[in-house]
Amino acid sequence: MALGKLLRTTAFRLTLVYLALFVLFAASLLAYLALNTRRLITEQITTTIQGEIRGLTEQYDQGGLRRLVTSVELRSRRPGSSLYLVTTPSGEGLAGNVAALQPGALSHSGWLETSYRRFDSPEGVDRSALVEIVQLGGFRLLVGRDLEERERLYGIITNAGRWSFALVVVLGVAGGFFVSRRVLSRIDAMTGTAQTIMAGDLSGRLPVAGTGDELDRLADNVNAMLDRIVALMRGLSEVSDNIAHDLKTPLTRLRNRCEEALRGSSSDMDYRAALESTIEESDELIRTFDALLMIARAESGHARDNMTEFDAAQIVRDVSELYEPLAEEKGLALKVDASMAAPLRGNRELVSQALANLVDNAIKYAAPDAKLNGHPAEILVKAGNAGERITLTVEDRGPGIPEADRGRVVERFVRLEKSRSEPGSGLGLSLVSAVARLHGGELKLEDNHPGLRSVIALPRAGPVGSG
């Protein structure tokens, strides 16, 4: 239900809380005002009565009862006069404007709130008054003031309180409705967009009102996040397209070979040969999968668990030692320059494999040229330790990589035309690049004039200057 939804919104709940607080505040303000006004009026009345009694007592002291009675009669006739009554000790009225009092009121002395009736007001209409009764030589003098004014003022204030309360509640609730409706409509728009996005349409973006408020900022950020996700998704789908394509090719080859063996000859020798090449082909596929998994691993950062400190120069020496006989066999001279220690923190196995891939590539691509020239071309494997960076460099004198292709060759399965005839999966440099990034570094491919210089640049371990 729309109303129920509205009542559940944060904006509306906040409105209610503020409303309650405001009502409480207003009520206490009004109550304070009312009570103080009442006290002030009472004080004023008291002062007036005391003044009158003082005056009348003086009259009595100077001229006795007669003067008092005259004075009272005189004052009683003034418009808006106070209440006066002079009685004998037994309670008979001698002078004044009070016709009746609350029974027993006269036996009292001092301050008293009582109901009364004037001579000039109609029978049965009793009003309340604040009176003081004093003894004057056996006679009693009562002076009082009507309390109607005080009660009226008090009433006005309480009334104002009631009305403003109602007004605050009505305005507050209406305002709450309005604000939450506004917010809700924007949130609803956002939710709607989010739902279409979740349904698979990544092109949707949250509406931005342009007011620059917090909802706009939220929408802006979510939109930026969506842009990033779209970019990542595009990259991912490209990769999986490539993977599907590049795995399909060898699988097709595998299948064709089996089919051909079944269709064609029938000698044991032929079957054996077909099966052996099938196994070789599947081993190649497995190798490709392993490489893909390893790249994924390096990219996801899982391999960070196995970080240790080691000397990159040692890696350079070990890997070169592993490949040196192969290079020699191919007519290449593999030279090592790793005299200085190069402390590195990372996954030793992955760094070794990355360097092995570079050396492997260098041998693979530089070898044909070396044979052509007739003299051994050189492959130089170096460990460098310059400033903040540790570098593992492989330099060859092969054909190199054209500058335009250098960015592309690190992508998965990318193989340049010239290299398609060589065995390989097109994943070697992708792994090197992923390993470099895992360690917070990068793979740089440069021109070696002629040939290729591949540099794995990684941040060094420990404080600069040590080791």
């Binding site: 052996e276 196994i279 196995n306 490949y323 006989p325």
Partner: protein, 226 residues
């Protein structure tokens, strides 16, 4: 040799049992972790082949239980998790060797035989001898027919590993792991070149070759042709 294969993939197990029988080994099978552990605890096996992910009990915890009960049967862990970290974890928890799926049977066989032989191992011997080839592990001297041979340090370690497993097939990956301590697969077969260098040093000029290539599997040092 008696083997126990703890693996929940029945097809794979059947295939292994059959393949081991063909080369003259007896293999029992268990399809889940609990059964496998019970068999391993009381049976007398030469090598256990344990899959890492099993129903009821995982492979690593079986190994832990065995070792806690002083059952020191060598264990080869089989796993679809083939990354370096998984391997390290597997070996750290008491496995003796680690092979990731998919694998070649020849590789598994070579490793299982190496593990079985390790028990009555010649690891403690100071001098390895195969025919007239001698390798002294302390003085690092190698000689053939009394003639001293000059080997590079890595060639020495390569020969040492081959001679420790004399008469057994040693695969390229075993060499890469044990002699070079690398667990990745180099794209080119660098090991072959190292072997042929070694071969030229120990076999050249002698009528009887000792370092043999076993087709489709690896290498072996042994006396005389089979």
């Amino acid at each position: 040799m008696r083997l126990l294969i703890i693996e929940d993939d029945r097809d794979a197990t059947e295939y292994l049992v059959k393949a081991f029988r063909e080369v003259g080994h007896v293999a029992d099978q268990a399809a889940d972790g609990e059964e496998g552990q019970a068999l391993a605890l009381d049976g007398q096996y030469d090598v256990l082949i344990v899959d890492r992910m099993l129903p009821k009990r995982d492979g690593l915890s079986i190994i832990a239980t065995l070792r806690a009960n002083s059952v020191e049967t060598p264990v080869l862990i089989l796993s679809a998790l083939g990354q370096v970290d998984d391997r390290v974890k597997g070996l750290r928890s008491g496995g003796d060797d680690y092979l990731s799926k998919p694998y070649a049977f020849s590789e598994l066989l070579a490793r299982v035989e190496a593990l079985a032989r390790r028990r009555g191992s010649r690891g403690e011997e100071t001098v390895y001898r195969v025919a007239d080839l001698e390798l002294n592990r302390l003085s690092h001297e190698v000689s053939r027919a009394g003639q001293e041979l000059q080997l590079q340090p890595r060639e020495f370690r390569l020969l040492e590993y081959l001679m420790r497993h004399a008469g057994q097939v040693v695969t390229r990956t075993m060499l890469l792991e044990n002699v070079w301590d690398y667990h990745f697969d180099p794209q080119t077969n660098v090991i072959d070149v190292h072997i042929s260098r070694l071969r030229s040093k120990i076999d050249k000029g002698f009528t009887q070759p000792l370092l043999h290539t076993v087709r489709g599997a690896g290498y072996m040092i042994r006396e005389g042709a089979r």
